[in-house]
């Protein structure tokens, strides 16, 4: 962007003074860390050493291979796990679906049945580490709940999270091929289920990271995120769930781009907006409902295929911003992001980046070290104003289901993609190695061997699935799917108990997703290649 505005196109002055904070009142705008409105942090004490969960996004191949990846990362000092599914898994399809042929296990782990989750979590101390899931929430939570019980852990002790983005996933590269109403119902069902059965688990992890990777700016990212949070809160309140039952377990997984101060200000503005909204608008009484937990990914979109070693620097700058903003968990997008899901080498560099900031920089010794900076406070106020304005303008457009179905959300994402591409092409968004300081391909060799190494699709999963399906008790599976179908057609029932039961009966995610799509009048198989699961 121009040197006189932030990445979100907020005009910036050469310097800031007390005059930029008219009417500034410490107690109202900031207050102490850990006190309403939580601008300065959700917790009263500074993060300190090891003050955030350090994890790297992982998952590749079959579940056993991903389990080995987890063990490797834990041995390197990772303090939580974060797993993402491959393209079929994220789409609610089994690995033997015809469209999955060349995509199994290459961009995440392939997961579709209870046995897979047993392998995924094998030997992991489920009661002692946090498990963050970028997976179709209902199916992942059902399987985790069962595996924990099988292993003798009380699900109520499980900590971790699962992403929710029911409004936007179809338009943001994580389509699960379900209609809006079903996506929202599944999200609310998971949240309601966990608020009783897994009360320490953040089943409401609003994921603004992946929606913004198309090129949304910070204002658009958080505005769409708040629209979705507000929609889900209203949905849960309409069901009669008490706000203080679920609100303490709302968290936001957000994006951290290259604009250092803007991203810090965005996180501070988000905490303040959230606190005011929960207390004043939704009437939450428990202070834990006001203080939102923030996890963050450093921005994959900010990374480049050119000169991949520079991505290590980008990750470090973004993670340092997160350290200064005070967040509860960080994932550093790795230097090979433009080419592949992380290699073992890149995983460790991402983790070491976090460890160096944590152990060597002292940025976490003091909570909110930038609080009181004229610039950061002015920017926090401005971002808060712009985010809230955009939330209101979107809500004024009417029913989110209609906005989704009519493609309005999609136009927002498309406009952002095009704006980003144009800014890179015309150089208004400067990118070292892309539109500045380029080198010829032949000289661009450092770390490229690692970045370009490939993972073969996990083709043996197709035969494995055939054997898995054959050895199941077919009548058991059918009964589980029938019960799920019946439950799905009772619009007021929570789907989770039926999903847990069908999972335990041996049903696959593809079959269960198919039953649900069908109950909502959609084809069980979105690509119309498979027969009916019932």
């Amino acid at each position: 962007m121009s040197e006189r505005s932030t990445q979100s196109r907020i005009p910036v002055k050469p310097h800031y003074t007390p005059g930029d904070l008219p009417g500034f009142d410490y107690a109202t705008q900031l207050n102490e860390p850990g006190a309403y409105p939580y601008t300065r942090g959700a917790r009263p004490r500074p993060a300190g050493r090891g003050g955030w969960i350090q994890r790297e996004l992982s998952g590749e191949g079959d579940p056993s291979r991903s389990n080995a990846q987890f063990q490797y990362l834990l041995a390197q000092g990772q303090t939580g796990l974060d797993v993402i599914g491959d393209a079929p898994t994220m789409g609610g399809l089994d690995p033997d679906h015809p469209f999955a042929a060349h995509a199994v296990g290459t961009q995440g782990v392939s997961l579709c049945c209870l046995e897979d989750y047993r392998q995924l979590y094998r030997d992991l101390p489920l009661d002692r580490i946090t498990l963050s899931h970028s997976l179709p929430a209902a199916f992942a939570v059902a399987a985790l709940h069962t595996v924990a019980r099988e292993r003798g852990f009380d699900p109520a002790t499980l900590r971790g999270s699962v992403i929710q983005a029911p409004y936007y996933c179809e338009d943001c590269s994580y389509a699960i091929h379900m209609p809006f109403k079903l996506r929202v119902r599944l999200a609310a069902d998971v949240i309601a289920f966990c608020s009783a059965a897994m009360p320490k688990f953040h089943a409401f992890l609003e994921d603004t990271y992946f929606i913004s990777e198309s090129g949304l700016d910070s204002v658009e990212e958080m505005a769409l995120g708040f629209v979705e949070i507000r929609g889900l809160v209203r949905e849960l309140l309409a069901r009669g769930v008490d706000v203080d039952r679920f609100a303490p377990r709302i968290a936001i997984l957000l994006n951290c781009r290259m604009d250092f101060f803007e991203e810090i200000a965005k996180i501070r503005a988000t905490r303040r907006l959230f606190a005011r909204m929960m207390r004043e608008e939704f009437g939450a009484k428990d202070p834990r409902s006001w203080a939102v937990n923030i996890a963050a990914h450093t921005s994959g979109l900010s990374l480049t295929a050119q000169q991949p070693v520079n991505n290590i620097v980008r990750g470090a700058i973004q993670a340092l911003a997160l350290g200064c903003a005070g967040v509860q968990a960080i994932e550093v997008s790795t230097f090979d992001e433009a080419f592949r899901t992380p290699s073992p080498e890149a995983h460790v560099v991402g983790l070491r980046t976090q460890q160096v900031i944590d152990r060597e920089s002292n940025v976490t010794m003091v909570a909110d070290p930038l609080g009181g900076s004229y610039y950061v406070e002015a920017l926090t106020d401005e971002l808060e104003r712009r985010i809230w304005e955009m939330v209101q303008s979107i809500e004024a457009k009417g029913d989110p289901a209609a906005l989704s179905d009519s493609g309005w959300f999609r136009t927002v994402f498309q406009a952002a993609m095009e704006r980003h591409a144009r800014a890179l092409a015309d150089g208004t968004l400067e990118k070292v190695g892309v539109n500045a300081f380029q080198v010829p391909d032949a000289e661009d060799v450092l770390l490229r061997d690692v970045a370009e190494r490939k993972i073969e699709p996990c083709r043996e999963r197709v035969a494995w699935m055939a054997a898995y399906r054959a050895q199941r008790d077919a009548s058991h599976v059918q009964a589980g799917l029938q019960a799920l179908d019946t439950c799905a057609r009772d619009w007021h029932a929570n789907l989770l108990p039926a999903i847990v039961a069908a999972t335990e009966a041996g049903a696959t995610m593809g079959e269960m997703a198919g039953v649900l799509r069908r109950a909502y009048g959609h084809p069980a198989d979105p690509f119309r290649r498979l027969g009916d699961p019932l």
Binding site: A87, F99, A305, Q414, M417, E418
Partner: protein, 137 residues
């Protein structure tokens, strides 16, 4: 109607479950801005569907936007299907995941052009125009 006056028609599609659409939309816009007609097939296509659409829509070039490695495997099937149809439609691939080695591999298979992350916009437009003109003449 003079052949040289015809607008170049390009099918832009993605393969399999690759659904990171940024590149496909960007390239569609780039080609339209350059005066071409884009038939946008978007996400979730298998080779047979792409060949069918390309022939029915009478395009001059098939452009595949690739953000996963699936294209490396689907390209063989796509080229084989075109040969079976007796079609010589040029196939072009582009995307940030395409490394120099991948580029050479797909060119050897019969893909007519492959654009990695460093390809210039002008180069993409010119190459596609040239392939289309050669096909029409």
């Amino acid at each position: 109607m003079g052949i040289s006056m015809e607008k170049t028609r390009v099918l832009i599609a993605m393969l399999g479950l690759d659904q990171h659409e940024v590149g496909a939309l960007t390239i569609a816009r780039l080609l339209r801005d350059a005066g071409m007609e884009v038939v946008y097939a978007g996400r979730f296509n298998l080779p047979a569907g792409i060949v069918k659409a390309a022939i029915e829509e009478n395009v001059d070039v098939i452009g595949l936007s690739c953000h996963s490695w699936e294209y490396l495997y689907y390209v063989d099937e796509l080229l084989q299907l075109l040969r079976t149809e007796g079609s010589e439609l040029p196939v072009v691939v582009g995307g940030s995941v395409i490394t120099p080695a991948d580029r050479q591999a797909v060119l050897d298979k019969g893909v007519r052009a492959a654009f990695g992350p460093t390809a210039a916009r002008d180069e993409i437009v010119t190459t596609i125009e040239t392939l289309a003109r050669r096909r029409r003449n």
